[in-house]
Amino acid sequence: MITNLNILIPEIFLSLSTFSILMIGVFLKKSFNIIFNLTSLIIIITIAIIISSPNNEEKIFLESFTRDAFSNYFKVLILLSSLFVLNSSKNFIVENKLDKFEYPIIILLSILGMFFMVSSNDLILFYLGLELQSLSLYILASIDRDNLRSTESGIKYFVLSALSSGLLLYGCSLLYGFTGSTNFDLIASQLNKENTGAVFAMVFILVGLAFKVSAVPFHMWTPDVYEGAPTSITSYFAVVPKVAGLALLIKFMFIPFSNILLEWQTIIIFISIASMILGAVAAMVQKNFKRLLAYSSIGHIGYALAGVATGSVSGYESAIVYISIYVIMNIGAFSCLYLLKKDGQYRENISDLSGISKKHPLLAISFLIILFSLAGVPPLGGFFAKFYVFVAVLEREMYTLAIIGLLTTVMSAFYYLKIIKTIYFDDSIIAFEQTKNRTAQISIFASCTILITFFLYPSILNNLVNSLFIS
């Protein structure tokens, strides 16, 4: 059988170019700038390759690798968000002496891992992709190796993540044992309620995946890692792996586990409710902005999971729309952090924001838009994200989930309002340096513009996501 390697072009290009720039990094001194720019270029070219490639579903390598509209959408989303995250954090990386040439290369490797995750149609390929991604992330978390907290967060992430990977692998082997195959489609045809062992395996796989998207009760690493890792890494953590993790979760629900809907639905509903509540309650007392965003991201994953919990195509679509808007909001929020520089140090406490509306009105209004959007107040983009999820949830008449979800929206509005209060109502304490961080400003501007104008054409994203499941 001749394999059509055309399908693999993005992955092949990405890996070859990653290794090429690795060579440049090894043989060229002070090569961070060059490699950084080449990385951006590689990402852009990969985006172009994926967009120009056809969207019809094709499977290669004994049907273990799929290329379809679904995987292409997520690949583009992953690449775009990495591009924005990387570029807006460049100043931060250089100023905090993180400008090692390995930094962008490891990011590219983690992207490669995520590519295989979202394209996998086989347990082994999926696990390999996941591990490539995770190993890259462990290194990234502790990249500031002389900093105690960064190393601590790296180790913490490594230990807990290794444990969850172990559970995941155990689940995979159980699934293989009880269904006799590692291929998703074959598993789906073998799986049913009577196959208790496989249902048992499903629980382990769900636990592993919930860990990767940091859903309650497997969220413990999130706040510490977010706070400990350098902000540029945190913003990457908060955005990109979440997208890949959610894509994988949806893929598992959609293909291998589609026959045991009732079994996994209960678990996802519980995880979703727990995440929403914990995200709302725990964030209220946070003083550190990154820690707060960690809890807020837990809450947001809860809403996305509420869409997944419906087990319907419209629910998966709403979850994808949700995570896309979440990415836009978080890129904006983290980019704002790159502008909060004072005495050569980047500030990350909420109290440092007090009164910036007087000295930095544009930054303040960007914060305002992003925070109200995170809180889900209309007419901003974040509202539509929540709206679609609850439309899907109520279609399935899951009233409890919807009402708890909306009540936690009100609770979470409280801590977003608290930040807005600090920005707008409090008196100014410090003025930040006028940093010339154009890329971060562009990211903030792009994010705010999308969030404000989203209500004019709210169905653009929907139509796009709709087409992913028609195949």
Binding site: F383, A402, L406
Partner: protein, 491 residues
């Protein structure tokens, strides 16, 4: 007519706020002129809309439709005889607020004007929308500018009040969002003109009605969820209080008329006793509370709750007189309470105190001011010849047809209303001078007299000549009641 006149009306203030945002204007003069100009233009546009509206038709007019979310939720706008009056009220009050901020807002004037104009966009949007999702969107979006208006330019306890306002209202309305989505899945549409035709199943009506009530009751505000209102009013700057009292509170009354009654007629009938009791408690209890206030703004805020009690009572009598009275009461309360808050603002700008005890004997030093204050106080207590009287009278006429007890108790509230308003007038305008600083106060200046005299003119004009308003909503109210009766009979 193909010109999208309603969209223009909605987005004109937004556009001008963008203009102000982008302008570099150190002294704020241009910002004030731009916002005043644009808000007056919006007002004239809405007057034109009122003029060209066909009063003899209960249909929605100037309807605009555009596919919005996936072709099943449409961006649909339209007005009828009821909503046009609220739109005109909104566009009329906004320029007055902008004039008032010349005197009372000293810091960040530009941002304040932007907030007011954006708020105007959302308020007009609420009254124009013919789709539940659009309505919810505008209804909630108004929270953002109002939160900032209270929080940034408010008094000493502004943070607490702003949070309370935001969270109370948000909490109330999330249940409405659930109800809207449930309606969507029940009927397949969120276009209210379609929903009017489809009968929502009986078992769903009650629960959906309650979900809508949870939002409207907070916004109205009805007893016992009214507690955010006095706080918000006291701490908000004058223009904020004016908008809050004159327009934001009317959204809920409008919501009852536009959504609760036509969509859930059976539930509306079923829950009438609940609304009666809550309204009566609001009228009597908050009037008594108003008697005990020593803060002028708080007193007027409680009187607003009492007046809104008449509105809910009138709406749910579901008689022609009751509903017409409620609409009339809402419009007239929009003018009177706005004027009273402006009056308080005038002396607050001079003396920086809202306490009744800091005043007294104003009549000897501020005669023009005292005259206007007394006009509005008398209008607030419903003196015949002012617009306040007609509304209350019609509501009570409607109530007597349905329930003697409710009507009797509400009438008792009128007496209490007279008591607190007259007592307030006595302590502030007349009486002995407690505060020596009063002797140095200047009387109302030009911009203040423009605002107050305009309001006073309309309060008295509509007291003697209600025809223009009555004529406008007459047919719409008739069709509302006819449809309601029809729905009950066919049940």
């Amino acid at each position: 007519m193909n010109f999208p006149i309603l969209s223009t009306l909605i987005f004109l203030p937004l556009l001008s706020s963008l203009f102000i945002f982008l302008s570099r204007d150190k002294k704020n003069h241009n910002s004030i002129y731009i916002s005043l100009f644009s808000s007056i233009a919006t007002f004239l546009l809405s007057l034109f809309l009122w003029y060209s509206l066909d009063n003899n038709s209960a249909e929605f007019q100037f309807v605009e439709e555009k596919s919005w979310i996936n072709n099943y939720i449409k961006f649909k706008l339209g007005v009828d005889g009821i909503s046009i009056l609220f739109i005109v009220l909104t566009t009329f009050i906004t320029p007055i607020c902008i004039i008032s901020c010349i005197n009372s807002i000293k810091t960040r004037v530009k941002e304040f004007l932007i907030a007011i104009l954006i708020l105007e966009t959302f308020m007009i949007g609420v009254f124009c929308s013919l789709d539940l999702v659009i309505f919810y969107l505008f209804f909630e979006a108004g929270l953002i500018p109002m939160f900032l208006i209270i929080g940034v330019w408010g008094g000493p306890r502004r943070v607490y009040s702003a949070f309370k306002f935001f969270l109370f209202t948000l909490l109330g309305s999330v249940l409405m969002l659930v109800a809207i989505i449930v309606i969507y899945w029940l009927t397949g549409t969120t276009d209210i003109t379609e929903i009017y035709k489809i009968k929502i199943p009986k078992d769903y009506q009650n629960i959906l009605w309650l979900a809508f009530l949870s939002s409207f009751a907070v916004k109205m505000p009805m007893w016992p969820v009214h507690t955010w209102l006095p706080d918000a009013h006291v701490e908000a700057p004058t223009a904020g209080s004016v908008i809050l009292a004159a327009i934001l509170l009317k959204m809920a009354g409008y919501g009852f008329l536009r959504f609760s009654i036509p969509m859930f007629p059976i539930a509306s009938e079923y829950f009438t006793p609940l609304i009666y009791s809550l309204s009566i408690i609001a009228i009597i209890y908050t009037s008594l509370v108003a008697l005990m206030q020593d803060d002028m703004k708080k007193l007027i805020a409680y009187s607003s709750v009492a007046h809104m009690g008449y509105v809910t009572l009138g709406i749910f009598t579901l008689t022609k007189q009751g509903i017409e009275g409620s609409i009339y009461q809402m419009i007239s309360h929009g003018l009177i309470s706005a004027a009273l808050f402006l009056c308080v603002g005038v002396v607050y700008d001079r003396l920086h105190s809202r306490m009744i005890s800091s005043y007294g004997g104003l009549v000897s030093y501020l005669p023009k001011y005292s005259f206007l204050f007394i006009v509005f106080a008398l209008a607030a207590l419903g003196l015949p010849g002012t617009s306040g009287f007609l509304g209350e009278f019609l509501v009570l006429t409607g109530a007597f047809q349905k329930s003697y007890l409710a009507a009797m108790l509400a009438t008792f509230g009128v007496v209490l209303g007279a008591a607190y308003m007259l007592w307030l007038t006595k302590r502030v305008i007349f009486g002995t001078i407690n505060n020596v600083e009063i002797k140095n106060l200047s009387d109302v200046n030009k911009s203040e007299i423009i605002m107050l005299a305009t309001l006073a003119f309309f309060v008295i004009f509509f007291g003697f000549y209600p025809f223009p308003l009555m004529e406008t909503f007459n047919v719409s109210v008739n069709s509302l009641i006819d449809n309601y009766q029809l729905a009950l009979i066919s049940n």
